[in-house]
């Protein structure tokens, strides 16, 4: 009885700590961003100005919001066919083959590489390649960042959707085969309909990761506080501008950075909520 009570209270306190930490984070983000929103109002979200000159200070988040969205959506578009095909390869088409198991451990390996290493590789290998191909003048920008982001989220999307695909019960596939279905027919009529919501969820989660990814993008985005002009243009993302400028920021600028942090927090929250909603509707 007594140990029961101790367990109960320990669990309760542990959960409270988590609640306090996340609540406190939201609280301090909101608190820190109040001066910026007081000064600029909602215009903060739609303004493209970023001027730290004393007495003429003005800050707006739009270039960073668009930068984050452009790079992440581009990454998702690049990642989709590759991750989807790889997941099908690993989890269905060549499952149990040694090639699939090698590939699957490679995917896990990719997922474990620190962001800074991707950034370094992007800087020294991908950037010169972009210049050589003539896709980008200095090799920086949305496209370069989108490619590196795609490479970074492919492992997540792949291993999550491969897991979902391999969870489709064998008996359903056998039922389809016993009706004379071919492999392609089984994939498109049995596996995909049954795994659909899970696959969508894994791509939304991958998108969420792309939104918040900081280090590698900071090294390749070009760090220009403007709305990117097309996919070969330079820009800046919400995470990168914070990483680049928080050290020397104070006053209104610091508050504006915190406000960007709060917006990023909200956007990722909304993306996750949309993902969960889709899953709920489909299942």
């Amino acid at each position: 009885m007594k140990s029961d009570k101790i367990t109960k209270y320990t669990l309760f306190i542990a959960s409270l700590v988590i609640l306090f930490v996340s609540g406190g984070m939201v609280f301090s983000l909101i608190g820190g961003s109040i001066p910026a929103f007081k000064e600029f109002g909602l215009q903060f979200i739609f303004s493209t100005e970023w001027n730290p000159t004393e007495d003429r200070e003005a800050y707006g988040a739009l270039p960073f919001i668009t930068g984050t969205m452009f790079t992440s959506i581009l990454a998702l578009i690049i990642c989709l066919p590759l991750a989807f095909a790889t997941a099908l390869f690993i989890a269905e088409y060549f499952k149990r083959s040694s090639l699939a198991s090698i590939l699957s451990s490679m995917v896990d390996l990719l997922a474990g590489i620190p962001s800074i290493v991707y950034g370094l590789w992007g800087f020294y290998t991908l950037r010169p390649l972009m210049i050589e191909l003539g896709w980008s003048a200095q090799g920086y920008g949305i496209l370069t960042s989108g490619i590196i982001l795609a490479i970074m989220i492919i492992p997540y999307a792949t291993s999550l959707s491969a897991e979902i695909i391999s969870m489709v019960p064998n008996e359903l596939k056998e039922a389809a085969y016993s009706l004379g279905a071919t492999r392609m027919e089984v994939i498109f009529n049995v596996i995909l309909p049954n795994a659909r919501s899970g696959i969508i969820a894994s791509f939304i989660l991958a998108f969420g990761r792309a939104l918040g990814e900081t280090m590698a993008v900071t090294m390749l985005i070009g760090n220009a506080n403007v709305i990117p002009k097309g996919i070969s243009g330079v820009g800046n993302t919400m995470a990168s501008v914070i990483a680049n400028q928080f050290g020397e920021a104070d006053g209104l600028k610091l508050s504006s950075l915190i406000a960007i942090g709060l917006l990023l927090f909200l956007i990722t929250g909304i993306v996750n909520a949309i993902g969960k909603l889709i899953i709920k509707k489909l299942s």
Partner: protein, 260 residues
């Protein structure tokens, strides 16, 4: 293994069939020779791991889903070598029902029945479709129970209804043979007896091969029985004969519950 009575004009003839799951591995089915009578229920019995499911799945080549499997020998449907047929054609002629009811959860009852056509991309008119669905569901005595909820998901049905739906799905192609792999092992006694009655009814139109763990089931509904042990077909003959007067001592031990 010897036959008491050779089966006249068999629908299936299995000749020197041996199956191993890997090259060089032990045979799961060893040198089986057997003929299956048309419009009859043939039961395959034996303890776990005796090769009965492997033998059954070889008849419509479902065992080939294991890529490393090795098959020797022949199976003939009438006079046609099934190893030379396309699996698509073969599986339309020889349908299959599995141990656990497995209707497609993303499809309605109606779509489940017609799933074979949908999967294979066969286009038929709506009236033809309606007709096939109704006939197949009537054949499994499910029509009256589900005719008002044809467009609900098949997974809302009870286990016994789901299994009958799966039998209807297999019947939709009008196959010649239906293979059933322990079709009642996941069902309660009432649902089991409904499926058994149904199989007895269905043998008028179809040939049924049934793997069962349940000896009394084999005794109740089958006309012919095979007893398999460690991959060998130990005994084969009329069910009544086998249960009253088994020729092999292994068969007798199994039927009297000494092992298995």
């Amino acid at each position: 293994m010897e036959n008491i009575d050779r089966i006249k004009d068999p629908i299936l003839s299995i000749k020197d069939l041996s199956i191993a799951y890997n090259k060089g591995a032990k045979y799961a089915v060893k040198d089986v020779n057997v003929e299956v009578k048309k419009n009859a229920i043939t039961a395959i019995m034996g303890p776990s791991g005796c090769g009965k499911s492997t033998l059954l799945r070889a008849i419509n080549r479902m065992h080939e889903l294991y890529p490393s499997i090795e098959t020797k020998g022949n199976i003939f449907l009438h006079d046609e070598d099934i190893m030379k047929m396309s699996t698509i054609q073969l599986r339309r002629k020889i349908g299959m029902v599995f141990q656990r009811p497995n209707p497609f959860p993303t499809m309605s009852i109606y779509d489940n029945v017609i799933a074979g056509y949908k999967l294979n991309g066969i286009r038929i008119s709506k009236s033809e479709r309606d007709n096939i669905v109704e006939q197949s569901l009537r054949n499994v005595a499910l029509w009256d129970e589900v005719k008002d909820s044809l467009f609900k998901k098949g997974t809302f049905l009870s286990g016994g209804q789901q299994q009958r739906l799966c039998i209807a799905r297999a019947l939709a192609f009008q196959p010649e043979v239906i293979l059933l792999d322990e079709p009642t092992s996941a069902l309660d006694p009432i649902a089991t007896s409904r499926v058994e009655d149904l199989l007895v009814e269905l043998k008028k139109k179809y040939t049924i091969v049934l793997v069962t763990h349940n000896m009394s089931q084999a005794a109740r509904i089958s006309d012919y029985s095979m007893f398999m042990y460690l991959g060998d077909l130990v005994e084969y003959g009329k069910t009544k004969m086998m249960f009253t007067n088994p020729r092999d001592s292994k068969t007798e031990e199994y039927l009297t519950g000494k092992f298995g």
